[in-house]
């Protein structure tokens, strides 16, 4: 990146002192902003709705969902895949941009990490909710038991359990380590005793020692290097749930990379969405600049194009295989009962994202906001149509059955959005929304560049 770009990514007069004061001030302010309170109240109500629906599902069983026997997975798995996808870009933005030393990483990395954390919580809960008998979830773990049984290692559902559990722990650790020096900053700046103890415990006694920083950078390097294969493998493994079956519509070798690209597409869209909301809610327009939105828009466009390529490949494979059933699935997607979902997906993921080719669109917060929402809807519809159209009309017409979502499906999905927002809003009140130590490093690099230029 040229010096010019680095200059434009940071406000002119930003120093270590005033940046720390501003970001820490957002957290340590005694009273929350009115907009935050309103949003928190709405999200809290939706989170309660989620808890209620979950209790209903656990006590009554998965019969509440709009599923039948050809369409056995339905909404819970659509939402698991969708939420995992959102989580992925969070990890990837933070890790890959760290490894490639992108100067625009600092203000958006924390948002991305927090988003990954809470999206994976939603994905995990949905995966458990779909189980039917979640009290037997430990059967997926290999442990010596009185029945002398072991898990079926060849089953992608067992792989899923390991993949999601690993990803959850990794995301938690990555977020905590990213926060560690910032917790120390909050500990040092907190005025009340209770907050000092709260942040003091979280900061683990971090004292900004040079040796500590050096090892801290090393471990972040290791975590970031591991993050890329984790991101690719988790969604890859989840796509194998579908792809290893012989069901037409699921059985495509292109699925793992196709799902990963889709995951990153919806994830970058969500980071852009959160960036637009955060800069408006907390007045951070000078730190999260239009230039940052521009870069996020470019990433969205890149992965949207990979997704579009995958659609073409999928259609081509269905035609080129010459397989009657594969072709029938595709024609059914375009003309069958789920055709509105496929065509809406086409509009969102193929047509609308092309607007991102224009610089003016990428730099407009309103346009990015709208496109982020349509892209997420599009990605959700993509998962929906894959899961529903592939199985509702399979080999024998006697087994055909169209499943339609119930009110419980809709309420639980709405509730999961609420849970995500609830956690995220609580997070921005308790922890800095922009990584202060990453910003300090960025400011230091700019100082050095300025000195060199003189």
């Amino acid at each position: 990146m040229s010096q010019n770009t680095t200059e434009k990514l940071l406000p002119e007069e930003l120093t270590h002192g005033n940046m720390t004061e501003r970001i820490a001030g957002l957290v340590l302010a005694p009273r929350a902003r009115t907009r935050w309170r309103l949003a928190f109240a709405v999200a809290g109500a939706l989170a309660l709705l989620f808890a209620f629906c979950l209790a209903m599902v656990f006590s009554n069983g998965v019969g509440l969902f709009g599923i039948n026997i050809p369409v056995a997975w339905g909404f819970p798995i659509v939402n698991t895949i969708w939420w995992i996808g959102i989580a992925h870009a969070g990890t990837l933005i933070s890790a890959v941009l760290l490894l490639t030393r992108q100067p625009w990483r600092a203000p958006v990395a924390r948002l991305a990490e927090a988003m990954a954390m809470f999206a994976i919580v939603c994905a995990g809960i949905y995966a458990i909710a779909h189980l039917g008998r979640p009290q037997l979830m430990h059967f997926l773990l290999p442990y010596p038991n009185t029945q002398d049984l072991w898990p079926q290692w060849r089953s992608p559902l067992v792989w899923d359990f390991f993949a999601i559990a690993t990803y959850f722990v990794f995301t938690l650790g990555f977020l905590f380590f990213s926060l560690l020096p910032d917790f120390a900053t909050l500990r040092d700046r907190a005025r009340s005793r209770s907050l000092q103890i709260f942040y003091g415990l979280l900061a683990l006694g971090w004292r900004n020692s040079a040796l500590h920083w050096a090892r801290y950078e090393q471990v972040n390097g290791v975590l970031a290097a591991v993050a890329a294969p984790i991101v690719v493998s988790v969604t890859g493994i989840i796509s194998l749930d579908l792809a290893v079956s012989i069901v037409p519509g699921f059985h495509f070798t292109i699925f793992p990379p196709y799902f990963v690209a889709g995951a990153l597409f919806s994830g970058f869209a969500t980071v852009a969405l959160l960036a637009v909301i955060t800069r408006a809610m907390f007045g951070l327009r000078d730190l999260i600049t239009r230039r940052h939105l521009d870069y996020l828009g470019r990433m969205m466009l890149l992965f949207a194009l990979v997704v579009n390529y995958s659609y073409i490949q999928e259609i081509f494979t269905a035609w080129y295989s010459g397989d009657l059933y594969q072709r029938a699935v595709y024609i059914d997607r375009w003309t069958g009962p789920y055709a509105p979902a496929w065509w809406s997906m086409f509009v969102c993921n193929v047509l609308l994202v092309q607007l991102l080719w224009f610089r003016a669109v990428r730099r407009s917060p309103a346009a990015i906001f709208a496109l982020a929402i349509t892209s997420n809807i599009g990605m959700w519809l993509e998962r929906y149509q894959i899961l529903f159209t592939s199985v509702h009309a399979s080999f024998i017409p006697a087994t055909w059955g169209t499943a339609l979502p119930t009110a419980w499906d809709a309420l639980l999905a709405l509730g999961s959005l609420g849970v995500f927002a609830f956690f995220l809003l609580a997070f921005v009140r308790l922890a800095p929304v922009i990584s202060m130590h990453d910003m300090r490093s960025a400011i230091h690099r700019r100082q050095q560049q300025r000195e060199r230029a003189e």
């Binding site: 690993t166 120390a184 683990l204 006694g205 801290y216 950078e217 471990v219 300090r440």
Partner: protein
């Protein structure tokens, strides 16, 4: 002031504050060169070169964080594969989908995941152990201004040594002030 805070009134050493990173870096080098090695530099961000000036080596020796992560990950992945092989071939042999009992490619996803999981945990724990964290009490926290170390302050803390000589040296390095640290 600091006598009030410490439980005991013992002497720990000195703390000096510098105006910027370069001054801290130069001071850290000079103090180490003078023969005093029990010192710690505190900066609000990973200042390039500071850790090396404190005697940190990039490789970290035979037990560097990256090596430990790789080693633990490889061992854990090996154990995960052996467990799958043992349970699927020896302890609970059941043919599924006409596949051989030792259908090893199907064991790889979990092998990979368990390996990654353990290498991440190993890296994280190694960092904390090497940094001796958590470590909630440290004499530097007795310095009232030390909170600035997490915003815009650059500090050098010295343990023990000849107080007067070191104080003169620190002042000579351009310290804004030099104060005593108590236990």
């Amino acid at each position: 002031m600091s006598e009030m805070k410490g439980a005991a009134n013992g002497h720990y050493g000195l703390i000096a504050r510098f105006d910027d990173g370069e001054a801290l870096l130069a001071a850290a080098r000079r103090v180490r060169k003078s023969g005093h090695r029990r010192l710690e530099a505190h900066a609000p961000f990973p200042l390039p070169g500071l850790a090396e000036a404190m005697g940190f080596s990039e490789g970290g020796g035979a037990l560097s964080i990256a090596r430990i992560a790789l080693l633990v990950g490889a061992i854990a992945a090996g154990i995960a594969f052996l467990l799958q092989w043992y349970t699927a071939v020896i302890d609970y042999p059941i043919v599924v989908g006409g596949k051989p009992l030792n259908s090893w490619p199907a064991f790889l996803p979990i092998t990979f995941k368990v390996g990654i999981f353990n290498s991440v945990m190993a890296a994280a724990i190694t960092m904390l152990v090497k940094n001796r964290l958590p470590h909630f009490y440290h004499p530097v926290f007795n310095e009232d201004d030390f909170a600035a170390a997490s915003a815009n302050g650059f500090f050098l803390s010295l343990r023990g040594g000849d107080g007067e000589k070191l104080e003169a040296l620190l002042r000579d390095c351009g310290a804004r002030y030099v104060r005593e640290l108590t236990l």
